[in-house]
Every structure is written in C-alpha cells, then in structure tokens.
Symmetry: C2
C-alpha cells in the first residue's frame, strides 16, 4: 500500500485524465474516449501491448519473445523441473508448451532429459548456449527495456506500478 500521497490528490489527477482530449494527432481526428480512459482494463491492455513491443525491440538481437525469455529465466532458477511444472508456473497449458520447447530445443537453448526417477517426465535443463543467451538477454532487458520504463515512469513509480500489478495478478 501507500503509493499515492492523498486520496484527494489521486482523485484530482484521475479527473485530469478523464478531461480529454488527449490525442496528439495519434489515430484519427480526435475521437472522445469517454469513460474508456477510466477503464483500468483498457489502459492495462494497451500498456501491455506497448511494453511487449518494446521488449521485443530490445531483445531482437537474441530473437527471444517475452514468453521464451520467461521460460529460460525459470529454467535457470529452477533446475531439475519437468515440463508440467514449468508450464504451470507460467500459466501455459501443457499441450501448448510442447511446441514452445521444441523451438527452444531446436535452437539448442535448452534440452529435455528423461528423468531416472519417473521415466514419463522430461527434466528441463538450460544448455550452455541457453545460459549464455539468457545472460545476454538479461542485460538487454535490464539496460534497455526496464531502464526505459524506469526513465519514463520514474524509479519510485516503476516500483509502485510493479507492486500494484503483482497484487492484481495474485489477489484479484
């Protein structure tokens, strides 16, 4: 909690937001968004698209999507896990995770190893190349992507935004 100064302060800036027009020659000739500006889901979706776009740009040299990056990150932090565990953690359905892993494995970024305990499951491991790519990706993300976000929002707001989004993603 404790992100805004006062409720009155927040209400004012919210009203300011609603006081369109705020379309500096963007799409068409200044359509009124109306209560759309106050719809959290609307801004949430548009912001998400922008942020993913920027992510893709920043990590373009490594040809990694946000989802692929998250898989590599998770494999690195959680060695010895199988497909189901990784997929579930990322909210990916097992059937859809197969092709994703195929792609990563075909690029020699990770590998499936049959578990000795349970010969049904595949233990997922990062390859050396996967670790190297992940390391480079982390740097690009931190220095270009997140850095730009922090620059636009300000460090404090960036942290506050992260906190609120995490809250929504969990307790909502």
């Amino acid at each position: 909690m404790t992100v805004s100064k006062t409720a009155a302060d927040a209400a004012r800036s919210s009203r300011a937001l609603r006081r369109e027009p705020v379309d500096p020659a963007g799409d068409d000739s200044m359509l009124q968004l109306g209560e759309l500006s106050g719809l959290l889901g609307y801004s949430l979706k548009r912001a998400q698209l922008r942020v993913f776009e920027d992510f893709l740009r920043c990590v373009a040299p490594l040809q990694l999507t946000p989802a692929q990056f998250s898989v590599l990150l998770l494999l690195d932090k959680n060695p010895g896990r199988n497909q189901t565990e990784i997929a579930n953690t990322l909210g990916i359905l097992r059937p859809n995770f197969v092709a994703m892993l195929d792609a990563l494995e075909s690029r020699d970024l990770c590998a499936r190893m049959r578990s000795t305990n349970d010969r049904r499951s595949h233990i997922l491991v990062l390859t050396d190349r996967g670790r190297a790519v992940l390391a480079r990706a982390k740097k690009l993300v931190a220095n270009k992507h997140e850095a730009r976000l922090i620059e636009v929002l300000g460090p404090a707001n960036h942290a506050a935004l992260l906190e609120m989004l995490a809250k929504l993603a969990q307790e909502f």
Copy 2:
C-alpha cells in the same frame, strides 16, 4: 508524478516483492520466479488477464467482451463516425473490425448507415437497444468490476495505477 512516498520506500517494497517465495499453493510446488517478478511486462500481462476475466464475469449477463464494450462506448461518445475512425481509435485493424461489427449489428446493438456525403463509408450508430445495453453495462462495470478493483487497490492507488498505465500506453 508523485505517486510513491520516497524512492527508498519504493525500493524497499520492490525488494520485498523480489524476496520470494510468494506462491501460496498456487501452481506447482513453489517454483522460484526469479527476476520474473521484477519484469514489468510479466506482471502487466498477468494482471491484464485477471482484470479481463473479471470484466467478463461482471458483464456476463449482457454477453459483452471488453472490446465490444469499448466499441459501444465509443459509438455513444462519437456519433457520426465511420468504421475506420472507430477501429483506428481502438487499435483494431479495419479488416478485423468487420466481423466485430457484424456481431454487434446482428444483435441489434448498432447499425451501419451509408453516409450521404461519402457513399463509401458507413456511419455507425447505436440502436436504442444498443444504448440500453450500454447503460446497463456501464453500471455493471462501475458497480462490480471497477468497484472491486478499487477495493483491492484502494482508491488512491487505483487512480495512480490508471495514470501510470495511461502514461505507458501513450508516451512509451
């Protein structure tokens, strides 16, 4: 600006976030998210999915998706506009907007009227039924959906979040 108290404060809570584990028997047996928790895009996407889920639940009686709701809202606030203008404002590509309008029109929520000035374009109008459904939808969204968001986040944080997301959606 001015959303968080201090930078130190924000940094602390951000660190607190990163200090997993934060998986109360959710997916699997407590995988480490690692720097995934600090990735804004990750939380952004997950939060967006949750919020849209809740929107769908709240507006379920009216069978409206977020996108459809936004179209109705825009038509109401911007009478006399054609398909291209509405689609562009919502970031929908014209070809994809056709089927969307077909669906709304088949439910008698809006109608296409050939413009007398430019007989190529279709002026979009809300039907009486469309206006009625929109009015009911607005109430559901405000009283159930947004109300719940405000409850979870707190009014001040809700406004601050909205402000930051709008900023990202625009100047990013």
